[in-house]
């Protein structure tokens, strides 16, 4: 490999040709500040528009300062990252950015995790002298069921645009207008809810400031908890337990299931239950549907639609409703675990406990922002009452715990309540890419072959590769499985199927990188892929720790079918646990 020798701040380095000054400095332990730069190694994407000029450095012999993020190292280059000239320029750039930025940091939803705020701190900026009374450019606020767009705080790094267009291929956002009027917006400046936005929220996960944030539902939940007439039930999604600890100083990948349950109980929830239970229920319904379709296919039924697509991810549901309106009969009709939990809690559990539907409030804790939108979809309401009342993100739960003066770190582990708190390892792995299809395989294998599955670990279905394929031997019948995470990969996979490149029986799709563990409601990892890997490891660890690891062996699931639902795909199941999809190709 060809290399070049350079000096950065008097440190001598030899780096491969093509390395940028920013990358080389990082290797040498020099942290050049950045703002518009974003690195997503797990998605092989480096976003470096070179537009903010925060990373400018001085290169000896060169007339102008150079942006470190896009300037490649050249032989003999002498770089100074903290010369007076570079520091002054950098400071001016940040001061100018702040001069056109609201100064409401104390009450900003991104306070404490804002990269512009961080820059002001590390540069010791205490006043904006240059343009003291200049007006700040303003833009109308856009509030969707999941996301809030506050363009007054946009610094035009355009990271959201890259994620929306290149990683997710959703194409909802683009930079529009010019100069001070420039913002990131959907076509014709329409609201996000009218755009092709899927509410996956990956844009808010990469936004360095408070320009793109998540809707805050904590006030409604606090009010419900304070209302004595309400019986408040909470469900926690699989991926939350593997990431919540990060908000309290634990290393990524620390499982905090027990502490989380204790904290929720301390918050005053009347029942602390598990979405993993509903995940097991999803497998019963979706797995049976999968088997039905495969059996019909094997018997030569030409009308059967294969491959079957998973439908647990609300952003993915939005995506295919918008982009593949001709394929609405292909995905499984099974609702997502969140939306299976709601109706069972508000019918079966409410009856068991002697509570009226309208007196029960179901709160979900999700790694996801699209879930906020999902629980507001019309089809998930019964007589004006939603199956799931409020959906909180992992970050919102952490805030709720802090509001309530609970010292999370000193909590003793506690267990979920019963009924609907029992789950299997199959339910847990819903939180990672490949997990839903692995859980379905564990159950479908036994139902299809009638034999016991000895090794439940399907390593061929795991990993962080964007598109994966595997063939599972169902006792002589090969079942072809495809897996994709991120909507861009989902599009590739679907287009591949349409063109006949792929041939699968079943496909799992998750909108977020890594699956739910990388959801936009999780603690922000700013592109650090080791965080995703650690969370993934934690989820598989939780699965391995479980005594029962197949959904159909969950004793509570067995009871539910015996006492209430009858069997999978029964009339009752169809009413409560299945849904249909709507074509909404948006402009």
């Amino acid at each position: 490999m060809e290399t070049v020798k350079i000096t950065i701040d008097n440190k001598h380095l030899e780096v491969p040709k093509g390395t940028t000054i920013l990358q080389a400095a990082k290797q040498a332990g020099i942290k050049i500040p950045t703002l518009c730069y974003m690195n997503l190694p797990h998605l092989s994407r480096e976003h470096k528009p070179g537009s903010c000029r925060v990373c400018v450095v001085e290169i000896k012999g060169r007339k102008t300062l150079a942006p470190a993020c896009v300037t490649k190292c050249a032989e003999g280059m002498e770089v100074l990252t903290h010369s007076l000239r570079a520091m002054n320029a950098r400071r001016t750039v940040v001061e100018l950015l702040i001069s056109d930025h609201p100064k409401d940091c104390l009450t900003c939803p991104s306070s404490g995790c804002c990269e512009l705020q961080n820059l002001a701190i590390i540069m010791g900026i205490r006043e904006i002298t240059s343009v003291e009374n200049a007006a700040i450019s303003t833009y109308r606020k856009d509030e969707s069921p999941s996301l809030i767009r506050n363009m007054d705080k946009c610094v035009m790094c355009r990271s959201c645009e890259t994620v929306c267009n290149e990683i997710q291929t959703v194409g909802a956002l683009s930079a529009i207008n010019r100069g001070f009027m420039a913002v990131v917006a959907p076509a014709f400046e329409q609201d996000l809810k009218d755009s092709p936005c899927t509410f996956c929220g990956q844009c808010i996960a990469v936004c360095p400031t408070g320009a793109l944030t998540c809707v805050d539902s904590t006030p409604q939940v606090i009010r419900a908890l304070a209302d004595e007439k309400k019986f408040v039930v909470v469900q926690t999604a699989p991926a939350v337990r593997a990431a919540l600890g990060e908000e309290f100083g634990y290393a990524p990948g620390t499982l905090v299931t027990g502490k989380m349950v204790a904290a929720l109980r301390a918050l005053g929830f009347d029942k602390v239950l598990d979405t993993d239970f509903a995940a097991d229920l999803t497998i019963m319904e979706e797995g049976t549907e999968l088997l039905n379709r495969i059996s019909r296919h094997l018997q030569g039924d030409k009308d059967v639609r294969l491959p079957i697509l998973t439908s647990c991810c609300p952003a993915w549901v939005n995506f295919f409703e918008t982009n593949y309106p001709d394929m609405l009969d292909v995905p499984s009709t099974a609702r997502s675990p969140q939306q299976m939990f709601g109706p069972i809690a508000k019918t079966y559990l409410a009856q068991k406990l002697g509570i009226k539907r309208e007196d029960m409030v179901v709160v979900s804790i999700m790694p996801c922002v699209a879930k906020k939108y999902e629980c507001q979809r019309e089809e998930f309401f019964v007589d004006g009452n939603p199956d799931v009342d409020y959906s909180l993100t992992t970050r919102e739960l952490a805030r709720l715990i802090k509001y309530a003066n609970i010292d999370f770190n000193s909590l003793e582990d506690e267990n979920y309540d019963r009924f609907m708190g029992e789950s299997t390892g199959a339910g847990v792995i819903f939180g990672v890419t490949g997990g839903v299809i692995e859980a379905a395989t564990r159950t479908a294998y036994e139902l299809f072959t009638g034999k016991e599955l000895e090794n439940v670990d399907f390593h061929e279905l795991r990993g962080l590769e964007g598109i994966r394929q595997a063939t599972i031997d169902f006792d002589g019948t090969p079942i072809h499985i495809g897996i994709a995470h991120t909507l861009g990969n989902a599009r590739k996979l679907l287009d591949g199927i349409k063109s006949g490149m792929y041939n699968f029986h079943a496909i799992e799709i998750m909108a977020c990188p890594g699956g739910c563990i990388g959801g936009a409601g999780q603690p922000l990892h700013r592109g650090d892929s080791s965080v995703l890997e650690a969370r993934m490891k934690a989820i598989y660890q939780e699965d391995a720790n479980k005594v029962i690891r197949k959904s159909h062996e969950n004793p509570e699931i067995i009871t539910l079918y015996e006492e209430f639902l009858g069997k999978p795909l029964s009339e009752k199941s169809h009413e409560l646990l299945h849904t249909c999809y709507f074509c909404h190709p948006r402009k």
């Binding site: 267009n165 959703v170 909802a172 207008n177 917006a185 092709p196 402009k587």
Partner: protein, 183 residues
């Protein structure tokens, strides 16, 4: 008097008399098949390349006179490109317009020389006479009113252009007479 610089703009903005396109495009969001065909042909003539977007928009505006939402949507479908990206380019360049122009587009120069010699009074007189605001088109589609920065005729300030004709050394009371020249 003709301004050679402006032939270019003239070709794009001045639409044939009673152009039926504007009416159909304004009334319906849906495009007629013939319009779709035209857009398809324009996109194909540039090889459906994303890099040719500005040329495609330029050419399309030349044909339709403006770029309404439906036309942008059709270009997005042809190029397999996010609509937001197309709108991003249309909104960036002041050359592209999403509102139709009149048969005789009026541009008032607001450059420094014209401004200090009373261009604002000229704008007011035009607005009053045409009963439209800057950026609008008269109800009969005859005139549209826009402002621009310096057409390079500072010696004639204040100056306006109607189509590719330049009218200079204006006072507000001259406006009525000038407009009457256009039928």
């Amino acid at each position: 008097m003709k301004n050679p610089m402006n032939c270019y703009i003239h070709a794009i903005f001045v639409i044939q008399e009673n152009n039926p396109l504007i009416l159909t495009l304004m009334k319906k969001y849906e495009l007629e098949d013939s319009h779709k065909k035209t857009i398809k042909e324009i996109c194909q003539s540039f090889g459906n390349k994303h890099g040719e977007l500005i040329n495609i928009l330029h050419s399309t505006q030349g044909h339709f006179g403006y770029l309404p939402e439906a036309v942008q949507n059709e270009i997005a479908l042809n190029l397999n490109m996010p609509l937001a990206k197309i709108y991003g380019v249309v909104s960036f360049y002041s050359f592209f317009t999403m509102t139709p122009k009149g048969k005789y587009p009026i541009s008032v120069c607001l450059g420094t020389a014209c401004f200090v010699r009373g261009a604002e009074k000229i704008v007011e007189a035009l607005e009053e006479e045409l009963k439209i605001k800057v950026g609008q088109v008269t109800e009969d589609g005859k005139f549209s009113l826009d402002c621009l920065r310096c057409i390079g005729a500072c010696g004639l300030a204040p100056v306006i252009m109607i189509g590719d004709h330049v009218h200079g050394r204006l006072t507000p009371d001259m406006i009525k007479g000038i407009l009457q020249q256009y039928e």
